[in-house]
Point group: C2
């Protein structure tokens, strides 16, 4: 009951009456082996229900390692979809994929990267917005070098590239472009006072979206108004809180809202509803990401090719695509959360 006696290649060799080398060769499929011998071996393999030990294999032969994706949590659709893309592409490439979660904890991230180095992962895909400070750059550069030394490739998804020399691949969404497009959508509907809800200064993803928002305003000749940019995290609760605060503390001097992402939009809509403001009749709103709640909320938003991001990350890691920074395009999904401003 205690230690299980596993079936080894030697057991198979013994039963088939051949050497371990022959068993290994039959299983590998390369190397010529007599049909009779092959049959004996296959018989023994089946009889004993032999399964080769992946660790022993990885140790002796140079075989492809696993592909790992590291995210904050898999319970957030944004990450889940990307992970799904990674999973699929990795499977297609014949790789095992590991999905690791950090819970947003830098310490855990570090120990996971360490763990993946020990596993001799072929690629480590890091996903998610971050504060790009000096400490971060240092940490990533360290990861990049140590992973490279171990023969692993580092892929940054939706994160800014490192300075030159950092051996990391980069792929992300065109956040500025999408934000520009969806803001223009509001502008072309006549909106001029647009509240940006959920900016996070210093966070790469958020910064790009705000940049797109501002450039779209500029394109329409609308002066940017700092009081229309409200900070907040990318969560439903934060969206609800920020909206509630804004509604109760200041004038409703805007006709539309651009939420940092769909979760923020969902929270904001609840807050609006509680104040008796209906979407889109009393207030227009758009989101970003095109994740589940947006369908049920009828939310106009920016669709991101999440799974494509995951797939691309894997392909890049395996050297299928180029190694330059890649940006994936986005497109608006029009639903029913925006009304044109009626000219008075």
């Amino acid at each position: 009951m205690s230690t299980v006696k596993r079936v080894t290649i030697r057991d198979v060799a013994g039963r088939a009456g051949v050497s371990v080398a022959t068993v290994s060769r039959v299983l590998a499929g390369d190397y010529p082996v007599l049909a009779a011998t092959r049959n004996k071996v296959m018989r023994a393999v089946r009889d004993l229900d032999y399964v080769p030990n992946a660790h022993a294999r990885a140790l002796s032969a140079d075989r492809p390692g696993a592909i790992a994706i590291v995210v904050n949590t898999v319970a957030v659709p944004y990450y889940a979809y990307i992970a799904q893309g990674v999973e699929e592409q990795a499977a297609r490439e014949g790789r095992l994929s590991l999905i690791c979660t950090t819970g947003g904890d830098t310490g855990r991230e570090l120990s996971i990267v360490q763990l993946l180095r020990e596993q001799r992962a072929e690629a480590v895909i890091l996903v998610g917005s971050v504060v790009v400070d000096e400490e971060y750059r240092k940490r990533m550069t360290e990861y990049a070098h140590s992973l490279a030394a171990a023969g692993s490739r580092l892929v940054l998804c939706g994160r800014p590239p490192l300075e030159e020399g950092g051996p990391a691949l980069v792929v992300g969404f065109d956040n500025a472009g999408g934000a520009h497009a969806v803001t223009s959508h509001l502008l072309s509907a006549g909106h001029r006072r647009i509240l940006y809800l959920g900016s996070r200064p210093g966070h790469s993803t958020s910064d790009s979206r705000v940049a797109g928002y501002r450039s779209a305003l500029a394109g329409y000749g609308v002066a940017a108004d700092p009081t229309l940019e409200v900070e907040g995290e990318f969560s439903r609760a934060a969206g609800y809180a920020a909206m509630t605060t804004r509604l109760s503390s200041g004038p409703v001097d805007f006709t539309a809202i651009f939420a940092g992402n769909d979760l923020v939009a969902a929270g904001a809509i609840q807050a609006l509803r509680e104040r008796g403001l209906r979407v889109p009749d009393d207030m227009s709103i758009v989101g970003y990401d095109d994740v589940p709640p947006s369908v049920d909320l009828g939310l106009t938003t920016v669709h991101l090719p999440h799974d494509e991001l995951g797939r691309t990350a894997v392909r890049m890691a395996l050297g299928r695509d180029g190694s330059g920074p890649t940006v994936l395009g986005t497109h608006i999904v029009v639903r029913d959360s925006v009304r044109p401003i009626t000219v008075r």
Copy 2:
């Protein structure tokens, strides 16, 4: 540029001027070593940025294997939450966790189980409702035995147990209980004609929920009406389709709906809306699972402790809890999708 020369324990030993055994011992931390020696070794480790090879370790020493969870997809919240629970508990137990997806394909499931056997996974956690036919039982029993032979434990989550002898652990939600409770909730609000939307005869999870629905009706002395049980898959699209069909092909001879899960409810609500039926004013509806869309829809539903399921599965696999079948309790979450029937 081609093959990376990895740093091995021998390199460290050489640099520190000691034997590999000493390095191994210093790193393991057991075994007495002079402070001076330890320092020399640690220095060399840092200088060379040495990372032990997990495969070599797994091969020689008896170390814990990874914990794997196998689901259809990680893009469905139900699975994502459970996976999250597994991840957390596995990390807490010092285990690496693998999240694998099958896309609902039996063939892929088989090859994944095979892969996990090769990896010498410590536990394999299979999640999700299935059709319990003879073929399924045979397949699971096979998995169970072959995994057991490899020293791995098999945990079935939300799936029915195998016949006696199958070395599999079982943990699931109290689906019948939750369904009974939420149906009673509707009954106590005066509803008597309750449409069950999304039954899937043969599927374990669905069957339990239908059973709870029926027993609650019986408890209130309401005769079950087969025409009120509509089949359909557990997805938004299926819910929408089934609801649309029902509304256009038959009379609206019900005042409330019990959707097989929240996604089905979301689809049904959209269909109702398109027919001009408002929730809850014109129609009451409840869901099951308590996953994201239900918050935004204001849907009364049954909360499942998803992450707790994941955590329990891991604990059971590691022998922390008992080995008997475990059932996790559920509770109703009342939101705003049910109105009492006004007595006329």
